[in-house]
Amino acid sequence: MTQTIIDTANHIAGYAAKAAKVKVVAAYPITPQTTVVEKIADFVESGEMQAEYIRVESEHSAMVACIGAAAAGVRTFTATSAHGLALMHEALHWASGSRLPIVMTVSNRAMGAPWSIWPDFSDSLSQRDTGWLQFYCADNQEVFDTVIQAYKLCESEQVFLPAMVCLEGFILSHTYMPVKIPDQEKIDDFLPPYKGGWILDTNNPLSHSNLVTPEWYMEFRYMIQEAMEKAKQLIPQIDREYEELFGFEHGGLVEKYKCDDADLILLTMGTMGSEAKIAVDNLRREGQKVGSARVRVFRPFPVEEIWKLAENAQMFATIDRHISFGMEGFLATEIKASIFNRKDRPLIAGFLAGLGGRDVTFETIGKIAKKSLKWMRDGKVEKETEWVNLRG
C-alpha cells in the first residue's frame, strides 16, 4: 500500500535507497548531505535495509568503494555535497568510464572558498563533463521518484552509466514535505534486481579498465556518448511508465509549464522551477504570455526539447544558480548552443541568481521576467549576463 510520510528530501533519499534495495552504501559525512547517510545507517542497523554501509574515510574512497562494489555485482548508492563531490571528481570519471550504474544523490552546496554551506549548483555543474547523468529535482517527491527511476535507467543495457540526483541543500535537503512512497512490491516490479554490464568473475578472468592505446580509446568515448543519447530517449519513457504505475511524473527531460503559447520562456533548474511557475501564473494574470521550462536533466542535455521550445517563443530567459567564471551560467551556454543552428531563434538573456543560497522567490523571478519582456519588445538583449539582486 502506498504510504505517505512527511520528511526531508535527505531522509527521502535514504528511503529511496532502501526501496531500491541497494546492497552497498559507501559514504562520508558532509553538510548538507549528512542526514541522507544517517538515515541509511539507521535502516541498516535496524535491519530494515539488507545492505552493508561502508563508513569510508573520505568521499574519494566512497566513490571508489561504490565502483568496487558495483564491479563485484551489487547495486550501490552514495551521497555527498560540494567539496565531497569535488574530492570525488577523479573517481566520477572512473565510474562512468567503467560503465557502472552507480546512483548518488547530491545535496547541492556552494563551493568554497570562502566557506558556504548554502545551496547553489557550483558543485554538481562543475562535474558536468564526468560522464554522469544529472537530474535536478524540484521537490521531495521528485527526489524519491528520480532515485528509483535513475536505477532503472542506469541499469538499462543501453545506458550502463552512473547518475547523480541533485537536490538543493536546505531548500530541499532539510525541508519537510509530504511524499508518497509506493508499495514495495510495485517498486520491485518496476525495478528488477541489479544487473550490471559486466562483473568481476573468476571464471572469466578479464582485466577491467586496463591501459587502452589511441587505437581504441576514442571508441570507448563514443560509446559513452551513444549511451547518453539512448538515455535521452529512455528518460521520458521511464518517467511515463512510472506515472502509469505510481501516479507521479516530473516532465521527463524538461518540465514545461504554460509554454505552448508563451512569448517568453523562463528556463530554470531545481527548486527555482517551482518558484517560476508561481511567477508565470502572476504574469499570466497581468496578461503576459510567459511560460516556464524547468530543465530536469542536465546530462544528457535535452537539446531537442529546447529546440522545440524555440519554435514559438520570442525570448528565453535562463536563470542560473551557478557561474562558469569568465563566461556565464552553464544553463545559458547550453541553451544557446542547443539552438544556435535554428534559422529563427529567440533572443536569450542570462540571469545569475541565488548563488551561495541567496533566496530566489517568485517575486525575484517576476522581476527577471519583466526585464526580459522589455528586452523582447525592444528586440535587443541589453546585457548578456545580469546578476540579480547584487549589492551595489
Binding site: 574519494h60 571508489v64 568503494a65 568496487g68 573468476t202 582485466s207
Partner: protein, 308 residues
Amino acid sequence: MVTIKELPKEEYLLKGHAACAGCGPSISLRLLFKALGNKVFLVVPACCTTVIQGTYPYTSFNVPLQNILFESTAAAASGIVAALNQRNLEDVTVVGWAGDGGTVDIGIQALSGAAERETNFIYICYDNEAYGNTGMQRSGATPYGAWTTTTPSGKRERKKDMPLIMAAHRIPYVATACPSYPIDFINKLRKAKEIKGTKYIHVLAPCPTGWRYDTSKTVEMGRLAVQTGLWALFEIEYGKFKLNSPSDRLVDKTKRKYVKEYFSLQGRFRNLTEEDIERVQRWVDEDWENYRKLSSNSVSDLASCMKI
C-alpha cells in the same frame, strides 16, 4: 609449510607480460598467484603492474583484475569485499596489489581506513623503492641516499616504516617478504588467506631498471638486502612479532653482512659517501635492536610493545 617441490605447476601470470627484464615485482606476482590460485580478485592501482598486465584487449593475468585509481586500492577492495559479503561469495580472496608510491604515499589514507574498518582482504605493497612506472621518482619508501630522478644527488630522508605503521592499526597479520625467498613469501600469503580481517604484506621487490644493476642479479639483490639486515623478514600475527628465516639468525650483528656490500652493487647508491654508509649502518643496527626487543617480548599487543 610448503616446499619448493610442492608448489603448484599452474601459472596464472602468463607469457607475454610487459615487465622489464629482471623485474622483481613480476616474480612476486607469479608467486602470489601460485600461493593463492585463481580464486582471486586482484585490485591494481596505477603502478608498474598497470603496464605488466598488458594493454587492451589483452591481459597476461589469468585472474580477474580491477584497475583502479592511484590512491584507492584499499577503497576499491572495501567495496568488492562488501559486495561479496552481500552475495555470500566466500571462496574468493580479494587482493590489493600496489606499488610503494601507491601504498606509503598517495594510497596510505585509503589503506589506513580499510585496515581500521577491519576489511577482510590481503593488501600487498610491492616495493621497488620509487615511482617506477613514471621513471623512478622518489617515494616515501625510497631509502636514504638513493638516486632517483627527483633526488639526483640522493634522497636525504629515511624510508618510511610502513609495516610497523600497519602493525599500529592492530590488524591481525602484518608481514614482510622478498621474492628472493619464495617459500617464505608463499607461506605468508597462504597464512594470510586463512586469517579474517586486514592482512598486510610488504614485499621488497628489486628493480634493475631503477636500482641500476644487471638484470640477472635481481634474486641476489633481494638476498643481499636481507643478509645485510636492510630488509628484515618478519611477521606480526595478532600482535606477536616473529623474525623469519633467514632473518631470525641475523639478530647477532656479526652475522649480518656490511651494508656497503649491497650499496656497492647498485648504481642508485653511487653518490653515497663513507659517512652516509656509516650512518645507514648505524640505523640498521638500531632497527635490529628494536627487532630483538620485539622478538623477545611476549606481549600480545604490538602497539604497547613498540613503546619499549
